[in-house]
Subunit: 330 residues, 2 copies
Amino acid sequence: MGRTIYFKNKPSILATSSISGPKEGEGSLKNYIETILKDDMFGEKTFEKAESKFLYHAIKKVIKNSNLTEKNIDCIIAGDLLNQIISSTFASRNFSVGFLGVYNACATFTESIILGSTFVDGGYLNNVICGTSSHFSSAERQYRYPLELGSTRSQLAQWTVTGAGTLILSNEDKSVKTECATIGKIVDFGVKDPFDMGAAMAPSASDTLVTHFKDTGRRPKDYDLIVTGDLGAFGSRIFKDLMWEKGYDVENQHVDCGELIYNIKEDEYQGGSGAGCSSVVFCSYLYKKLKDKSIKRLLLMSTGALLSSVSSQQGESIPGITHAVSFISE
Amino acid sequence: MGRTIYFKNKPSILATSSISGPKEGEGSLKNYIETILKDDMFGEKTFEKAESKFLYHAIKKVIKNSNLTEKNIDCIIAGDLLNQIISSTFASRNFSVGFLGVYNACATFTESIILGSTFVDGGYLNNVICGTSSHFSSAERQYRYPLELGSTRSQLAQWTVTGAGTLILSNEDKSVKTECATIGKIVDFGVKDPFDMGAAMAPSASDTLVTHFKDTGRRPKDYDLIVTGDLGAFGSRIFKDLMWEKGYDVENQHVDCGELIYNIKEDEYQGGSGAGCSSVVFCSYLYKKLKDKSIKRLLLMSTGALLSSVSSQQGESIPGITHAVSFISE
């Protein structure tokens, strides 16, 4: 049967919500992100509590935006980068709703949409919230160095997005729908530099997209946009090269959420990353473009680097994973 | 629609596999666990690499036991307790198969079965591997104290199971099937002691079971066994009390995987725990009993405590979650 699945009833997106920190709010998507905070601590005492509050806010807001109430929500499917996905669990404990925690690093957002779409498409659940979050400061101190150290950033380092994005998948008939998906497999090219995630993830993005094209018989031109999660500037180049080698030219369709979210300046180098990167970009800008039909077919491919600080310390390489979801606007 | 879903085509269990360390191999299930190692390092240099190898072995073995080949497997759904679920990701990168990482602490095993059953039942995938692992030594040093410190264990502390359990869900018709499931919600009674996980998880186990009974109209006697994951001796007592308060007497049906796996001796106090606890017990003993029809209806309720060392250090309580899956033997 393989890795590509079809949603014959095409679950609809009932609503989305997005929230970000001030830095993201100054970028190219400033007119699309629903809530832009002036203080990325969100009134909390720790980075982790702040991140969780971002996601809590995005869950609460997406329910409001959908005109549903909490009682109509059957399940929240969420994940994030913090150890034991505490951002998602502590955000979700405030809702009297089923919860399924997921983790595929920065590929978690499309993973959650694949699961949510399957539940809704198969008639198992009616309304499912999918969402992810990340926070620059909680990610830096967990994965890299304490901010207080003032370390110089590597040229290939990305900037973790501070924000959260959520959407509700539903069996109601709305214009933006999920239509099919390709589940990622883990691809490991032996990259070991935790400051070069783009290179670690690009081979998995290429593997998933080639698989998607082969399984569906589609070509790049069948999509208005092919959107990767957070390959960054360098990773995107590797990805397009790898696709070219396999006989697919995606130059005209490809864009990366990590490139979209910031007006790239010298100190950000590669653009945004993080589990919240593709969710904030999709739940603000891309969803809006699908809804107003300026984009009609979009393949969202959130990309994940499957490392932990322990695996890197033990000399392990960084495997990547990419899940693809096809959205249509009817 | 709510939290209980029905699998109308009843996905079958094609095969299971279980592997454990030497301590688990001396317990009550010694004649049921498929592979019992003499060395819980499994020839590896670190606890984390050892844990990952346990899961790798259980995935490889379950494919063999099913008489399928890797090519026939559509997806691996797995999770574990290590930061960024590295045990599952590094185990799964060796297979050219789709991967969906999940995390609900020690409730991850039934979470993976709910997702796998939905994919198979709805006709999206044919053969899905579900599995979890845990390792005493990797869990101790990540969540508690370095082993070298020789700390005294709390009276309410449980013993993390060293092992992994896997099963294959399939659309082939076999005798043991999943029939319905109740997705857990996060329940927080404000317990803050990370050495008293049973008390933190018992309220969520009770919530899920009451919801399951209400949604399905079933009573305790409709099951031969109602099996919690790792409430331990004290947590099990709280769970049964809470059920009694809600009008359900589960004394005759209830058993806890954490109590089953060890011959409880003084130094283990509360019994086993860990994401591998319910998977090892189910994939060895319980599956065997279902297969030979000495058990005909079984409700498996893996129980999870949603904490991290960071959330505890920041003064947070420990929310619990419990997912229930009903198995039948036909």
